[in-house]
């Protein structure tokens, strides 16, 4: 639908393409979106910012027809619209790229692009016309300057390429408005730059873009207008040129934010080697090396940070160290004792605490009670059980102690973990692991998707633990977190640690280059791996 041909009823801003009026969405008793007023102007990049859990994705899912509003209205070009499914939204010209890609791994690029809009054959209508499909996809990629092999399977593409397929999928449907949900969280800093350029290109070609993000810097660079959402409410609407990063951050959180924790590094001389990893390797399901000869050492009283773009082997590394995956080579020594390929219970007994990446996978069991989760990892030890028979009184007291000491907000002591918010669930894990009095803490993405209050609390816990002499392996893809907590930083790329930097002297540029696989070389400048 070309822009500008539709006639608008009088009184409506000519430029407004999409708007909402008091849009509200409730899930049971929980209000995810509360009377949202949003205005999007044609041919602009509109950014929606807010903390994790603020309700950005819910809002977008309503605009895309995936969720239906509990109350309120959506207007497209001044007309009231109701979408009962994404298909409706697409026909009206609204497309969305989800944070988790909606692609079929076993199918090819072009099959995914045309999925749901296949072209019937000329003669046999029930068969599909693959040639024509490919031809149209080809001209589409050429028009937007995307470099993709149409016959490749999705499972063989990089994340960045998959994202391009997602965008092409929407462009194929000729949408005017493109919604992008946290598009940059899976990209390297360099890929992010390219991606942002593409966005500006799309805008130049007349598309309207709605960009959801919590990365303020990117938004400041590319958007025209910004709407801030907090706890399901719109709390501000500003032009990008009239605001700044700190101002936005303050709007998002509602108070002044210290973007870094107070971290005073105390060098000590008599440090013990707590964890020594040598030439560790393992492979993924396809047999490719996922962790490739990784070696590092962590001392007592030290935080070793590992940073990298998601999917570069950090997950697998942590899984090996926490007993969830087997290494195919190399050794792990803990406190002078070899623990390679030990199971989780052996690791825990020897004094390792684990905050896993997947909170509701490895960390907690949502359908079990708080108490049952609180004693997880120590069920066979006293005082929780004797001769494999539980002591309920002790368990209840212990659970209550964790809740009090770590300020975990609960609704029902006897209820399941599913009642907890993300931040409180994570606090429960931190509490449980800290109370086990470990000497080595492995923390993987410890603050992903939790509110700022909980982030500060968890960071404090990690620093205090280090100051008490504990050793910490911190794995995160948040550069800020790594920079403010670590004493040494290793950067992972394609399964290798390709560089170690000192957080006090390094720059974000240096780490960003390493994350993208570029190693600074003294003689030739930058060398790509």
């Amino acid at each position: 639908m070309p822009s500008g041909t539709a006639s608008f009823p009088p009184g409506v801003d000519m430029e407004t393409i999409l708007s909402t009026k008091a849009l509200t969405k409730k899930f049971g008793g929980f209000t995810a979106n509360d009377q949202i007023f949003l205005t999007v102007h044609e041919g602009q990049i509109k950014a929606i910012v807010g903390e994790n859990g603020a309700g950005k994705t819910t809002l977008m899912n309503m605009l895309y027809g995936e969720l239906q509003p509990t109350s309120g209205e959506i207007f497209l070009r001044g007309e009231k619209v109701e979408f009962s499914s994404p298909r409706d939204a697409i026909t009206k010209g609204i497309g969305m790229v989800h944070q988790h890609f909606m692609l079929v791994p076993s199918m090819t690029v072009y099959e995914n692009i045309v999925l749901g809009a296949e072209i019937p054959g000329e003669h046999l209508k029930f068969l599909i016309d693959r040639k024509e499909e490919k031809r149209r996809c080809q001209s589409l990629t050429e028009k937007y300057g995307y470099d993709l092999d149409l016959n490749e399977k999705i499972s063989e593409l990089s994340i960045g390429e998959q994202q391009k397929v997602e965008i092409l999928k929407m462009l194929y449907r000729d949408v005017d408005i493109l919604i992008l949900d946290e598009p940059t969280s899976v990209l390297t800093p360099q890929e992010v730059d390219e991606f942002l350029k593409q966005l500006v290109d799309l805008k130049a070609k007349g598309k309207t873009i709605i960009l959801i993000s919590h990365k303020l810097r990117e938004i400041m660079g590319v958007s025209d207008e910004i709407t801030v959402i907090k706890r399901g409410k719109t709390i501000g609407n500003v032009k990008t040129e009239e605001t700044s990063e700190p101002a936005l951050a303050q709007m998002m959180v509602g108070r002044k934010v210290l973007l870094t924790v107070q971290n005073q590094y105390k060098p000590t001389d008599n440090k013990r080697v707590m964890l020594q990893v040598k030439n560790l390797q393992t492979n993924d399901r396809l047999g490719k090396l996922a962790v490739d000869h990784v070696s590092f050492t962590i001392h007592s009283g030290e935080v070793f940070g590992i940073v990298g773009v998601d999917g570069n082997g950090q997950t697998e590394l942590v899984k090996i160290l926490s007993g969830m995956m087997e290494a195919t080579g190399g050794t792990v020594e803990y406190n002078g004792q070899e623990i390679t390929n030990c199971l989780s219970d052996q690791l825990r007994k020897s004094g390792i605490g684990i905050i896993p990446e997947d909170r509701y996978g490895e960390g907690l069991c949502q359908e079990m009670s708080l108490c049952q989760n609180a004693i997880a990892g120590a069920v066979t030890s006293k005082p929780f059980s004797r001769h494999a028979v539980f002591n309920r009184k002790q368990i209840n007291e212990y659970c209550q102690h964790l809740i009090d000491a770590y300020q975990i907000h609960i609704a029902d002591f006897n209820g399941n973990v599913s009642q907890l918010s993300g931040g409180n669930a994570q606090k429960l894990i931190v509490a449980r692991e800290m109370e086990g009095e470990p000497r080595l803490l492995i923390a993987c993405q410890p603050t992903r998707g939790v509110d700022i209050g909980a982030i500060e609390f968890i960071h404090r816990q990690i620093i205090d633990f280090r100051d008490r002499g504990g050793a910490v392996l911190l794995v995160s893809s948040e550069l800020n977190e790594i920079l403010s907590l670590s004493d040494r930083i290793g950067v992972m790329y394609k399964g290798k640690i390709i560089g170690e930097v000192d957080p006090r002297t390094t720059t974000e540029t240096e780490i960003g280059l390493l994350m993208a696989g570029m190693v600074p070389d003294l003689e030739n400048g930058i060398r790509s791996i």
Partner: protein
Amino acid sequence: MKRIKWKNLANSVLPVFFALLIGAVIMLAMGHNPLNAYRIMFERPLFTLRGLTNTLHIAGPLLLAGLAIAVTFRSNLYNMGVEGQLIFGGFLAGLAGAYLHIPNPFLHKFVCLVVGIIAGMMFVLIPAILRAFLRVDEMVVTLTLNYVMMTVLEYLSSGPFRNQGAGYVSTNTIDKTAMFNRIGKTRLTPFFIIAFLVFLLFFFMHKRMVFGYRGEAVGKNPEFAEATGLRVRRHIVQVMIISGALAGLAGAGHMMSHEFNYTLSFSGTPGIGWDGMLISLLGGHSPAGVLIAAVFYSALKTGSDNINMYTGIPKEIVAIIQGLIVLFLSIRFINDRFGLTKRWRNKRNMKGTVHGTFE
């Protein structure tokens, strides 16, 4: 907590109600009085002393078979081979009873039970190991092995171990020393007490011991279980073996307290192992639920003989009702979060919500 329990109860009672209702419709269509039929079916087995003790007597192996399935279901494993393990246990216990002439009655019984238990354990070892080490779907393997065991036992009982004196395919009758005798004038035998003690042990293990916790954790979130040190692989093997042992014990007990020799209809149709599955589902996979379900089901089973005897209705009506109960048990009539009517009223609003889409 109380609310949830009430719902679980409703989710077990409603399927039975609907299945009986459909059974009634079939009987009506055939020109019989369903109320009369159900009265005949349940009156004797539940409300007369002799009938009740008979019901409990039949319930012994059913209880064990139900527990055998419940213990795997709770851990999200499906040992569908309880039937095969059960008849193997029964068959070997029968051989031990007929060929090992041990004069001491206690010792002889003990040996036979142990043989049955070991038989069940051995036979479940194949799917258990394939499941734990190669991740082969245990359900498909156990289902298949039932056919294998039936064929093998058919051969053994009609060939090498056939009782030549009998006019039909059967093995030799077990020695008197291996038989569980009736207690007093009732139909009950000491085997029911053994089954009940096993039940009590299980009840305690599930409610109070690490074993129950581990099963729950593995069943609800195996990654969590492994990550918190519960050794899921070992648990899989362990639970499968326990399940096989229970099935073997059930088979041995059935042999020694009821059948006394192995025939081709040793376990009946659809077979005690399959009954066990229904019982486990009906009891919500909890030990106490399994006990109640076993008794109810036993009454249904013994009642089906009465229905055949006193009315003109074929006893297969009970098999149909059983199948319908299983069918209705597959869905939850009452959701955990909403009541029945409330759920339907909310259905329109809930439509379109997809899990995990709100941040």
